[in-house]
Symmetry: C2
Subunit: 317 residues, 2 copies
């Protein structure tokens, strides 16, 4: 089968590209390389079954043309920067909501009717129920990122209903692992490289989050696509564990044999719209037989190892 992957040079996108090629599929990877890295496609690029197209999802005609002949779209291209939404409020709308609309319209034009979409646990806002199931109470958005992703989900569902699409929507916790290139492990490691004596932490260190290793994430995505065949398939993806930012600091500094002085900015939220506790109920995806192989601590260690052997990612930032 021939797959189209937006955000193909991104963290999760490039891992999905590699997996699709491994199991023998043809893949067209599409990325505007604004945050994606061509280095993440070093395994894919030499493959005969892989084509890379440099383009933006908001270049409508170019996008539709690039998609021609594909049968399934993985839509990962997005502004994934939750934290700085308020500094440029139109970015999430343009890249995540309008971008998703453009992907859907290109699919409709090209007669492609299957899409998998990377949404986020942030769509639950400050969840009333924790661990939060897919059918949690009607959420109230707390970030422009969450708002833009929920809008993307909503458009995709409306296309499923209105145009006969079959859709898979994944609400991720934070993902860790190879090609991880933004988030707290990246920030902490970078800061500690610069000054091993001190670590400034946004928030009070008590924010509780859940993380999932990217290999487990890719397995979960394909488990859902292979086994869930409803018109609209929505899955939380996470582990059944959570940790505090302080736990993560402990694992990272221990592994680096450092004992920095930790300075907290002192609030329960790292930034406005930050959710102090994200923990998803993942029984739905587990009921399909999927189970994560790595613990959060193992995921963080894998990430750290990856960053230690890929300093170019930190230096080139």
């Amino acid at each position: 089968m021939k797959y189209f992957v937006t955000g193909a040079a991104g963290f999760i996108g490039s891992n999905v590209v590699d997996y699709l090629l491994e199991i023998g599929h043809e893949v067209v990877g599409y990325d505007n390389l604004s945050t994606g890295r061509k280095e993440f496609l070093e395994k894919a690029l030499p493959e005969k079954k892989f084509t890379f197209i440099s383009g933006d999802i908001n270049s409508k005609a170019f996008l539709a043309n690039a998609m021609r002949g594909c049968e399934f779209v993985f839509h990962f291209a997005a502004n994934a920067d939750v934290r700085f939404g308020l500094e440029h409020p139109s970015k999430d709308l343009e890249q995540n909501t309008i971008g998703t609309f453009n992907v859907l319209e290109a699919m409709r034009q090209e007669g492609i009717k299957q899409i998998a979409f990377s949404s986020t646990g942030s769509v639950y806002g400050e969840a009333a129920v924790i661990p939060t199931p897919e059918n949690a109470p009607f959420p109230v958005q707390t970030s422009l990122y969450g708002a833009s992703k929920l809008a993307g989900e909503s458009l995709i569902s409306a296309y499923a209903e209105g145009f006969g699409f079959k859709v898979w929507i994944f609400r991720f916790v934070s993902i860790l692992g190879e090609r991880y290139s933004h988030g707290h492990v990246f920030d902490f490691y970078k800061k500690l490289l610069k000054n091993p004596e001190e670590l400034a932490v946004l928030g009070n260190g008590l924010q509780t989050k859940s993380y999932l290793y990217v290999g487990d994430c890719v397995n979960a995505i394909f488990t859902a696509i292979n086994k869930a065949k409803d018109k609209i398939n929505i899955f939380n993806l996470g582990t059944d564990q959570y940790c505090q930012v302080n736990d993560s600091i402990g694992w990272i500094t221990k592994s680096l044999s450092l004992t920095p002085r930790v300075e907290y900015t002192g609030n329960e939220r790292g930034w406005i719209g930050d959710n102090p506790f994200i923990f998803l109920d993942c029984n739905k995806i587990r009921s399909l037989g999927w189970t994560p192989k790595l613990t959060i601590e193992q995921g963080i260690m894998k990430t750290l190892e990856y960053l230690q052997t890929n300093h170019w990612l930190i230096n080139n930032e």
Copy 2:
């Protein structure tokens, strides 16, 4: 106080404009007159405290300029045409989602931090719980209209969190009454004017919906704004009654002394994405002391009387 009303020449917008002027406020009415009718402002236009500005919410600089000096925004401008979303998929996105974003950005630029927004019961999709409360399970969108309004709600909530806005979001059932200019009563009356012997009905006549009289709707909006003072205030607005399309046909034809042959298109949905049963739990707004004065039947009769004395609305369509 000085209010800004988008969609001021529309059905609900013009009724809110009249009410604001009645209680002595200054009002700037903004409308692109694409579906709004200047006739709906015939009471407002001669008033000294009223200014009408013809403009589009997607004309960003013009909109911000028009808003200058106002303290509170009622945002009613929208594509309210639920039924034909699939024929022009970008319309809901542009007018309802991007339009709402532009209103929020104009407010931010002008330092205005209070907004009331007309959302819709359609955001619940095919609700899992009926009557549907505001905190119903996480909805799955079935129409582009619902998707675009949920996106609007989400943006508004994110602005409340991120920029300190205070917001009131209203999820309406279908509204009836003076200046009603699209929907089933309009369609049925128009068809019966043309041919009193026959009435073609979308769906099977058994679709069950709830309706609210516009006067009751306006009262509910101001009850909420005056009494609910949270950062984000979300209210369903409807009656605690519902009726079938067939009930409505009975009331209308009886009032017109007609006995047309009724022809059904035969499906439980009038159109793709139509929801066969919308009925909202309105205990939250009722707990503030509001109660509707008219029954659904009375609302439909008021609407019919209005249409009978305003044939220009039907002829000019």
